[in-house]
């Protein structure tokens, strides 16, 4: 990643606290100006999105109060400008129809759990590079 890359703020919606610890470990491998905010359910995510727009939203697909598809629909209803926000689904469910449903709903990618720290750090860098590459 070039030194001139802008800071990145990522919102992670996840109710499993060990996975939250793990995501923080992912961020130790990323540039220091990447910041991570973690919330534990869909309602907290909607509140956090109303406060600050992240550069990337990571969503566990099985939240205690709603699933990832519902969260995506509700955040767009709450603020139509968020329809351009890059949202990535995280799930242990690898069924093709689940992946397809997430993509059809508007998730820009679908990453399988369990989280691999190195792969996820690379994927975040690649996603960021793709979203900022003028070509």
């Amino acid at each position: 990643m070039p030194d001139s890359a802008p800071p990145r703020h990522v919102l992670y919606v996840e109710d499993d606290r060990i996975n939250i610890v793990l995501m923080e470990e992912v961020f130790r491998r990323l540039p220091a100006d990447w910041t991570l905010e973690c919330v534990e359910d869909g309602a907290q995510a909607l509140a956090a999105l109303a406060e600050r727009r992240p550069d990337l939203l990571l969503v566990d697909m099985n939240l205690p109060d709603m699933n990832g598809l519902e969260l995506l629909a509700r955040l767009r209803e709450q603020d139509p400008a968020l329809s351009t926000l890059c949202c990535v689904a995280l799930s242990a469910d690898s069924l093709p129809e689940q992946v397809e449903a997430a993509r059809a709903a508007g998730f820009c990618d679908y990453w399988l759990k369990p989280i691999d720290v190195l792969q996820l750090a690379d994927a975040l860098r690649a996603l960021d590079a793709a979203s900022t590459d003028p070509h």
């Binding site: 610890v21 793990l22 923080e24 470990e25 992912v26 130790r28 491998r29 759990k113 989280i115 750090a121």
Partner: protein
């Protein structure tokens, strides 16, 4: 419903090897659904009781090879690490007591988060984890209540007890992961722990 397996996680807050293994331990816990009991220990007690030596007293060859291995693993794991950090050697006692207090008050996941932050403070951020101001800042950064620092002062007896538990379990270095009485010593043995937890032959 049967109880999930429990890993006893023996470590010292100033251990670079615990730092290097922390994320993979968390990944193993997430993947397997195992519970964890954080057991910060005093290596100053463990080493002399188990035939080990503090770093400064080891032979030059061993000290040199340690640096090679630290660099090798940090590069492989993509984890920033200063081979000779500004605030090291450092006492891990205050951080250990704080981690115990956090575990008791906020649970093991919160304590794992804080442990990751403490490791990084020593090995990547040039911070002094023996300084109460640093520990207060780390709590704040992890959105944990500042009064845990006061609660930590009462945890010396438990810290000593965990150290005795480590010796009783046969632990002689950090990190050690103990599952059903079986010791997995060192972050390079996490694959064996993972296979054991997932039910495949280790």
């Amino acid at each position: 419903m049967s109880q999930p397996p429990t890993v006893d996680y023996y470590f010292a807050p100033q251990s670079p090897w615990a730092y290097l293994g922390h994320a993979r331990l968390c990944a193993v816990l997430a993947e397997s659904g195992a519970a964890v009991r954080l057991r910060p220990v005093d290596l100053g007690t463990v080493f002399p009781a188990s035939g080990g030596l503090p770093l400064a007293q080891r032979a030059p060859q061993r000290q040199a090879y340690r640096l090679v291995e630290l660099r090798r693993f940090s590069e492989w794991l993509g984890l920033p690490l200063n081979l000779q950090p500004r605030c090291f050697p450092v006492s891990g006692d205050a951080a250990a007591r704080l981690l115990i207090a956090t575990d008791l008050a906020a649970g093991s996941a919160a304590a794992l988060r804080l442990a990751g932050a403490v490791f990084a403070a020593v090995w990547a951020e040039e911070r002094n984890i023996a300084d109460p101001a640093t520990l207060a800042a780390l709590l704040d950064e992890q959105n944990l209540p500042g009064d845990l620092l006061a609660q930590a002062e009462a945890q010396q007896a438990r810290y000593e007890d965990y150290t005795r538990q480590a010796l009783a379990a046969g632990v002689f270095g950090a990190p050690s992961y103990v599952l059903d009485g079986e010791i997995f010593w060192g972050q390079d043995r996490l694959d064996f722990l993972r296979r054991r937890l997932l039910g495949t032959a280790a």
